[in-house]
Symmetry: D5
Subunit: 94 residues, 10 copies
């Protein structure tokens, strides 16, 4: 099942520098692991914004929620989730 997800990130100015470096590193590792598993199949940066557009391929909504809920940056994100399905004109699914 495919989900289209946008994530807008706002990290508070007063977050301690060390904490900031740590959470960003954990976020990068977390996303790279999911990409390697084939769950996080597309990840693009939106030009000019601290935002990304992603597409996930997961087994269920519950799995989609767990992945997003456990993003290290989750509490600093505004997330919009849109379920996708196969388009009748699409030559490929993913």
């Amino acid at each position: 099942m495919l989900f289209h997800v946008t994530m807008d990130v706002v990290i508070p100015h007063d977050l301690a520098a060390g904490e900031r470096v740590d959470v960003l590193a954990r976020e990068k590792a977390y996303s790279r692991d999911l990409q390697a598993q084939g769950k996080w199949i597309h990840l693009w940066r939106v030009v000019g914004r601290y935002s990304n557009v992603s597409v996930f391929d997961v087994e269920s909504s519950d799995e989609m929620h767990d992945i997003l809920w456990n993003l290290p940056l989750f509490e600093y994100m505004t997330i919009r989730v849109t379920p996708l399905c196969r388009h009748p004109s699409a030559l490929s699914v993913r």
Copy 2:
């Protein structure tokens, strides 16, 4: 260059049936041709809506505009275009 494009389609109720069939067929052929050329690299249907989410890989903004402007369904569409670029955590570009 990657562009994220959403297209919401509203075809007027009073469009002649024949015209409707024709424009939909031309739209399908048009999109399949661009997919085959590797320009239209992702095309998904949004669940529950006459809308799609697409990603295009083109040479320039001008090319992106020409592709969209010449969509057979263009006049029945609300289109939003978001330029994308490589995400620092992404394992692959496309």
Copy 3:
């Protein structure tokens, strides 16, 4: 998989009376059949509006889309789809 769906209906004033009666009857039969199958598990009317709030239990996003795409009233509807999952405090899933 659970999907929360809102449907706002606006039927054009100039729709022929016969067509109106027919499409409403088909809509009622269609929804009752899906309720009987256990797919359409909740259907409520929003007070004061020609709108409903529904919850569907389906196998996949594709199935969810097909159900909504084939609603007799689909072309007269504005539909919003929100994927749901289990709440950690919920005593029951559905």
Copy 4:
């Protein structure tokens, strides 16, 4: 009487850890008690968000307000309340 309620939760970053654990525990107990009483009849998590969609079955608007006003997380919530009623095509009320 049925009420559809959405609750978006934003807990301030600087809330003391102990206070956070306490208020979340009180919230869980509060909601489970109301579910056990048959007041809070549906509680789902919205995929990817610290939000829920709920349906309550109560005697009056006053009772609905008291229930929401006394949610331990109330001051950290944005709440939208939509009164529901029986849909003419619904096979069941709840």
Copy 5:
């Protein structure tokens, strides 16, 4: 139970004059009857708009919906319904 209701009216330009006179007359009679019954307890015109703000005192959401659904002008209205309850500082309920 009290409901706060706003109604914005847009009557199509091309509605036949006779039909317009008739529906407006039926609307006036309908609302005066409900006011006489004590259901429609407040009805005010919003300055400068074809809109009203109303407060209803009814037994249930179902009754509220039936009253609004059967307004002669219903199909030409955008309606917003807000459930009200007693304010802790209010000297009177209605």
Copy 6:
């Protein structure tokens, strides 16, 4: 002259407890006094929100502004003011 006023209240988390108790007490006394004078003729709580819907009967816009500007909770409020007038179908003015 009638004014329809909505007031959404957000009291900062970090307001000292004593100050909070004081300002709420002054707000209650202030509103009860105006109700007793017949100026604040309707005051309802919006279900599920720290908001009220009110109707005022005052001599002028200036008086309306002074009443609102001097609300003890004014700086914690988002206020919307809508001038009302007599509805042609209304059996009573207030």
Copy 7:
């Protein structure tokens, strides 16, 4: 009493030419008459839009509503009314 009013005008394309000329002439005469009476004290065109910003000085909300309700172009207008009052720093009222 002062009211700030914005009026956005959209005249249907298919309005008969004669009717269009007539309603515009009546609108101009109507507004000039009220300006001459000192009711309509300010009338400006918004650059680039078929909109105006106006200020009225009237005796009551009822009078304000009657003036706007009887604008020849009323049914083609979106109107927003904002009550004004004296600003503590203003050297003059109007």
Copy 8:
């Protein structure tokens, strides 16, 4: 040249009392001076809000910007600027 300007003011709760008194005094003097010069030709308070509606008569956009940019309260304001011009039905320009 006429500009219509709305200014919504939100002064932070934690601004030192002395600073607050000072900036408000400077704001009042600043606006009275511009009114005396005939630049700030209209200044009204919006009923129920810490907002004003103003009209300025200046030589150019640059002058308009300098006036607003140097408002003592500028950093606490949300400002919207709308260029005005003569209305064909207006009996007077200002």
Copy 9:
């Protein structure tokens, strides 16, 4: 004086073909003439939309309004006008 103007164009489906060709030709000639005069100094197409972003250099708001009001496509446009002025960091004005 510089004005930033966006123009979104929606031409009704049922506009006669001849009328459509004529109004588009007049629009093109009109804009080219103003560009040649140095009034319309920038004109860009927004990718994927029947919209443009323009910058005008004119003597006054009145002149700006006349130019826009007399656009052949004016009645089919949604126009937003934003007055610009010199940026303190800008190396050039236009």
Copy 10:
């Protein structure tokens, strides 16, 4: 490739004065350098707001993103990016 970019700036009140002076100086130098390179081809101030409208001429979306991401004021900005292309009626491209 041309990009239209708007930047709304909100610098936190509690930013240390020294830091504020420094970041503004770096921002000015940064933008002047890019203007000198011919990348940042237009930069205007929006009248009455701490905002600018800019147009960039760059080689790719990635380059556009890098330029914006590295703006010294980036974390205090809300940025909207709109890709532009040649308008069929435009006499010049830039």
